[in-house]
Amino acid sequence: MSQASTTLPRWIDIGLIPLINVLMALLVSGAIILMIGENPIEAVQIMLVGALGYEEGIGYTLYYTTNFIFTGLAVAVAFHAGLFNIGGEGQAYIGGLGAGLFLLMADSSLPSILLLPLGLITAGLFGAAWAAIPAYLQAYRGSHIVITTIMFNFIASALMVFLMVNVLIKPGQMSPESRVFLDPAHLPFAHEVFAWMGIKISRSPLNVSLIWAVLCCFGLWLFIWRTRWGYAIRSVGFNEKAAVYAGITPAKTVMLAMFVSGALAGFVGVNEVMGVHHRLLLNFTAGYGFTGIAVSLMGRNHPLGIVLASLLFGVLYQGGAELAFEVPTITRELVVVIQGLVILFSGALAYMSTPWVEWLYGRFSKRQAESRQEAA
């Protein structure tokens, strides 16, 4: 790993190789599309046009991107502490529950200016609290966080169904959904915001959560690389013993990292519950927590990379929906397959292409040096 970074220039290491990995994943996906009898090139075109070709499509793409930024950052911050948080799904679920409970309680008594920030904070706190339990068990009881966070996904789901079916369901309603929040509790949609400015754009679920997501990226970057807490998190992640030597308590740091991670995952609830659906309902997390793993891996756990990877997955999700719309034989699960392939190639096989690239680069730079010599 370190050898790769010492012999190759940075742009190859963090630019070209990830790109090659994504391309390989897409190539295999293309083969699968061929296998089920469709034209992959056409599929790509439909996807790109569907995701980026018109206003509404772009809106949806960015709406998905918002979710992936949150879950990607959540996975990344845990990764920096050496933890693998697979529980983003459950944390997002509970985060949404928190926001929903708060708004159901307070939407008639508080103005927007208080409701929205407090809802956001509640979502973060609920997500964080849900992550804090596995974190506590890892830090103080030695339970493996991968297992416990998976279990907590299942438990969150059960809890949510119990509450939705038995407690929060809107009376007389047949589907397990809460009542719709009052207007002040809605986060403004992008088309609404633009309308205030006199610009008309198509309706889409894109809302101001995206701004919060971008702020979170910047905030997390500062937090990880510019504060003593981020320093502590990275120390524990890289070398726990050195962290202990430095007076950092790994257990507390694990708690901190997971708390931040859970809060970030919980913000998916802000986008979904406060931004789009305006009510509590089941399954609004739709696998975003798991996709966060792929996003974080592709983005190399760096906020900037995560934004780019989130965009890519946003395109994949929206374009994939469009594809399923246009080509009936291609089903929605194809996007799941592509997602799995991206995790495989960008994560587990991240360094597969490195030797080849090194070899090519070696030849290329040699030839360049030779021709330069000749010229001289």
């Binding site: 009881r141 038995n166 798991f290 699960e333 799941v336 995790i343 495989l344 096989l349 991240a350």
Partner: protein, 324 residues
């Protein structure tokens, strides 16, 4: 008395059926993790195997060909895991997650493409399945109290793979602790450098371990789709791979304790199924959701309370890099 005894026997009987895939997967995980390869892709391999077995059984009508197909696909995925973790020194957990997601998507995409049933495979006739094996005299001993009931209900009348699962446990123990391969397997999970300097190939050992893991998850998947059930249904593994992994950790990476943990989880599930909708004195009806979540809650509690810091093989999850 009679009634509650029968209830007990029948609950245990269900325990056997429910814990069978867990046992296969726990032993599979044990081989992999003892060699130092973390495997959270038990779930995905089992799912893929279930799909392959059901597909082949539907097309050929042969349970045995289906078994071979299920095992082959699971071993293939295991090799992919090995290729990522051993050959390319990728992160084990990430590779596992990728395989799980891939399996859950691909089984449906291919299922729809091949069978046009929304990811489900056609229902299988009994001839294409592993059907319950009736022990000799099972009906004859019916009259014998206690023992007769146990023989007829508990021991007899399971399908072949259930019995195989229960034989796999002592076999695993024997392989791990009584053979040359087992010695090397344990060594490579503890200290791969030592194994390398002893003139053994770390990669080959680990590849063999993950292939064994694939074999056993293949059996688990086959059991699910063509023995316990009669077709493949999307995401039919429903988290059992994770539970098996938890059982293996709970059993501290040792065959018999892991087996015990599988039985506990199986029993829990069997009891939960029977307790659903039952009014518990003083509490009233326990919410279904709680019963559903119980195995997961219990896993968390068991992992946190009983075994505390689980001692994994020392070199687990670490790619083997030759050091200067």
């Amino acid at each position: 008395m009679e009634q509650s005894f029968l209830f007990l026997v029948l609950t245990l009987d269900a325990t056997l059926r429910v814990s069978t895939p867990l046992i296969f997967c726990a032993m599979a995980g044990l081989f992999s993790e003892r060699s130092g390869i973390i495997d959270i892709s038990l779930e995905g391999k089992m799912l893929a195997a279930a799909f392959a077995a059901a597909s082949v059984a539907a097309v050929t009508g042969s349970a045995w060909l289906a078994l071979i197909a299920g095992v082959a696909v699971a071993v293939g995925l295991a090799l992919l895991h090995g290729f990522a973790c051993i050959t390319h020194k990728g992160n084990h957990v990430v590779s596992g997650v990728a395989i799980n997601i891939l399996a859950s998507g691909l089984t449906i995409v291919l299922g729809i493409a091949w069978f046009q049933r929304g990811g489900q495979t056609p229902s299988l006739p009994p001839t294409a399945r592993f059907m319950p094996v009736e022990f000799p005299l099972a009906q004859a001993v019916d009259g014998v109290p206690v023992l007769g009931t146990i023989y007829r209900e508990l021991l007899s009348g399971h399908n072949l793979l259930v019995y195989v699962a229960f034989l796999i446990v002592p076999l695993t123990w024997w392989v791990v602790y009584r053979t040359r391969f087992g010695l090397r397997l344990r060594a490579v999970g503890e200290n791969p450098t030592a194994v390398d300097t002893a003139g053994l190939s770390v990669s080959w050992l680990r590849f063999r371990a993950v292939m064994l893991c694939g074999l056993l998850t293949g059996l688990a998947g086959t059991y699910l789709s063509i023995a316990q059930n009669a077709s493949f249904v999307r995401d039919m593994t429903a988290g059992q791979g994770y539970i098996a992994l938890a059982a293996m950790i709970f059993g501290k990476w040792r065959p018999f304790p892991a087996f015990g943990a599988c039985l506990i989880f199986g029993l829990l599930d069997a009891v939960a199924i029977r307790l659903q909708g039952v009014h518990v004195a003083g509490i009233g009806e326990v919410p279904v959701e709680f019963i559903q979540a119980l195995p997961y809650i219990l896993t968390v509690i068991l992992l946190a309370g009983f075994i505390g810091k689980a001692v994994a093989p020392k070199a687990i999850g670490m790619p083997y890099l030759k050091e200067r």
